[in-house]
Symmetry: C2
Subunit: 482 residues, 2 copies
């Protein structure tokens, strides 16, 4: 794919467009290893910024980072019945080490509950040892048949939190606290609005009592599960004998949670904001905030313009704004605009001879219009523009989601039509019977993304199940999903 060619449009082929945006912006590349990708510096920088923001929030809430082994003895996985059923088919298995066949094969972690609970059993004896609030930033392997850059890869990067508590209430509070952090991060950093809620049993984590999730709606009207937080009850505590002595002297199993977000978020960011010119990146997660494009025709103009560009760069750098001057001689300004637009740089500053004379620059927003700003006080003007862009991206994404959400859907026929059409999120009544959920999935490929939290629920509440017509016990959000 030459960098001169236009991208496939979203309308023509959303999936091809997505891959081209990721490749053109140099976020990631295909690797020679089946199902595994390479995260290139621009993509990894987004991940670093995501990590920093989330890690600060986790730590502010009392969590500490640790590191547990990549390998898990195969027998550990089998200790929790639902867990092994969910994950065993997806594992990569190490059978040889140091030139010899291993006595017991090792699984490359598909998630780390089992190895972590083996350690919890060693560390937790008394109520004084609780709560344990841990997190780790690691690589994960789940063998996938069909892979997509960032969205579904055999290896991915994530954080996984694992906590142990004295009571069910504390574990529930923790699972909810983390869901709130995920939502805040998605909205305030990624400018990606999400709905929160509970997963049905068929969609919950293998081994959980209850799974909470944040769900976002992409531009192709497919939903993306962007983060999950699980209340594990005492399931893993029982499987690994993690017990503590209460204040009263009794022995009790701990109550626990686990929760994670992954590099999949980068795919969500791309599909939420980008356009047919390429990546649109919210300023708070942008690897590069500003590109400065000096414009000149004559050699006499050249020096003055380049000096002004360098001064602008320095002023921005001093203010903690990352910027770069594109002073390539052989490339025309228009080609430079095109180049940096594809890479999602939120703000472009154009500085020509007339601008220098007038002490100004043209500030062009990647998503939004142009304005003229004074060269003195540039950092403040850029910061204000970035704040506006950040807010506008969230607002636009929220409007798009709402415009593509349908509520008060009454019956089977309407649901099928919506799902065969271009509906995004469909809110409708649900009887709670898994048979209806399965039937909808078979008929429409849509799944229940969440049973939404109160603030997202429709008013009036739907009275009947959209599929079977029996009384609804709850409202559900249906969508086709990644």
């Amino acid at each position: 794919m030459s960098s001169e060619q236009a991208l496939t449009t979203r309308a023509a082929d959303f999936s091809a467009w997505y891959n081209e945006v990721v490749m053109r912006a140099e976020l990631a590349d295909y690797s020679p290893v089946r199902g595994c990708m390479v995260i290139r510096p621009r993509g990894y920088r987004i991940w670093e910024l995501m990590q920093r923001a989330l890690d600060d929030m986790f730590k502010a809430a009392g969590h500490e980072n640790a590191y547990f082994p990549l390998f898990i003895p195969q027998s550990f996985l089998a200790k929790e019945a639902a867990h092994v059923a969910g994950f065993a088919p997806q594992t990569a298995v190490v059978t040889h080490g140091g030139g010899k066949e291993l006595e017991e094969p090792l699984v490359v972690r598909p998630t780390s509950e089992t190895i972590i609970y083996a350690m919890f059993a060693k560390w937790i004896q008394s109520y004084r040892d609780l709560p344990v609030l841990l997190n780790q930033w690691v690589n994960i392997v789940r063998w996938e048949m069909r892979t997509r850059l960032f969205l579904r890869t055999t290896e991915f990067l994530w954080q996984e939190g694992h906590t142990a508590h004295a009571t069910a209430e504390e574990a529930e509070t923790e699972a909810r606290l983390i869901l709130g952090i995920y939502r805040r991060f998605a909205e305030e950093w990624m400018a990606m609005p999400v709905i929160t809620g509970i997963k049905t049993d068929s969609e919950k984590f293998a081994g959980a009592v209850r799974t909470y999730a944040i769900e976002a709606l992409m531009q192709d009207n497919r939903a993306l599960q962007a983060g999950t937080s699980h209340h594990l009850g005492q399931n893993f505590a029982r499987a690994f004998e993690v017990r503590y002595q209460t204040m009263a002297g009794d022995m009790e199993y701990v109550w626990s949670t686990s929760w994670g977000v992954s590099t999949r978020l980068i795919g969500g960011l791309v599909m939420t904001h980008s356009d047919d010119r390429g990546l649109v990146c919210p300023p708070r997660l942008a690897p590069l905030h500003v590109v400065i494009v000096p414009i000149w025709k004559s050699d006499t103009d050249r020096q003055g313009v380049l000096e002004a560009a360098q001064r602008a760069l320095q002023a921005l750098a001093d203010a903690g704004i990352s910027a770069q001057v594109d002073d390539r001689d052989a490339v025309k300004p228009g080609a430079k605009y095109y180049h940096w637009e594809a890479r999602g740089v939120p703000v472009r500053l154009e500085i020509g001879p007339r601008d220098v004379a007038q002490g100004q620059a043209v500030l062009a927003r990647r998503a939004g219009g142009k304005s003229t700003v004074p060269l003195t006080g540039l950092p403040a003007a850029v910061r204000e523009a970035m704040d506006q862009i950040q807010a506008a991206l969230l607002e636009a994404a929220r409007e798009r989601r709402e415009a593509n959400s349908v509520r008060q859907v009454r019956g089977k026929r309407e649901l099928i039509d919506l799902m065969n059409g271009s509906a995004g999120l469909v809110y409708a009544g649900y009887c709670g019977d898994a048979a209806c959920e399965t039937a909808v999935k078979e008929e429409t490929k849509a799944t229940i993304r969440v049973l939404p939290d109160e603030e997202f629920r429709s008013s009036p509440a739907p009275a009947t199940c959209v599929w079977c017509g029996r009384p609804a016990v709850t409202e559900a959000v249906w969508a086709k999903a990644y």
Copy 2:
């Protein structure tokens, strides 16, 4: 191991002492997975601080982070002859994925040159694409027979830099630049003095033209290789066909480097500074800077002392100094001192009723003496104490190393006696013949740690090889090593 018991002393059993220090300080723990450890929050926090410092230095020198796959097709490893000979015997091999046997087994990365050069071949076409300056922070697996917490484990964490350049000179400059960064980090952050130099062929990286290293001397007089930086020449470029078009239009192989430091550094930190009471941690890498111990006998004193402790905590936190109040009721001050000393907290503040009345606290250094400091201006006093401690630890370690270094060793007999005795670093002439190196190793278990850089060389330069008596072509530093 109860936390009441005294540690094994260094003099009695250095190896047992080391393990006990690591476990008591809660830096790491043994895992149920053979050869793999768990890095606990206090240990991982040291690693995070190390990462932040190194990453800042790498980025300031123009490097970017990326992420390459964990798995490497077995055939890739074989493309560079020396490389496969060095690493194949140590690999963990994935033979099954998603329930099926793989057509080609995948190796869990023992280092990432091969997978990275496969990508370089795709990304690098022209001199305009150079230099490529990448780094990644990842987990690594090398099957080890004998493992030690942090020092040698089957899985470990590290950073690996990989760079490609247009000329041999640029690659050489890069390898040297990184060696300088490693040295600066070891000395300024870890307070661990190192000598720098070149490895002999027998000790160099499998696939390198030249390996540079930083070497430190531990308290048991064994040397620790703490970081390596390799000039790879065109070896990997040839193996993976990484060529670029020069300005003149010719096709040339790139010149490249790779370099890494790992969680082994934490072991080096422990063995450089700790004492028979437990961990001593340099303030710049301490997970917790200050523990505040309030001291009271009567209930009337209790409240005033605890309030003063909280005010002190707040003042320190506001100044960016991490602190914690140990207000446990059931534990006596002496036991608290002991507890926090074992965990290496650099500064302890003791606040009793008389101190509150006099507006002061007793500041006790983990390594060093006590002094009285005013409660107003506490952050400045603590910061000054931490700076002193940081400098004193480096100075003490340097003095210890020099006191245990022997120069101008003249002959075989003296070298054998030194190595059978308690010598640390032995500087002596070397003829450059690998046969002498091998003979010394067989006779004494000592190896050439480095051919030292100029600033570390003896004056006058040794004239003859310490082993064979032929003319010396260089000076070498011999030691028993981890």
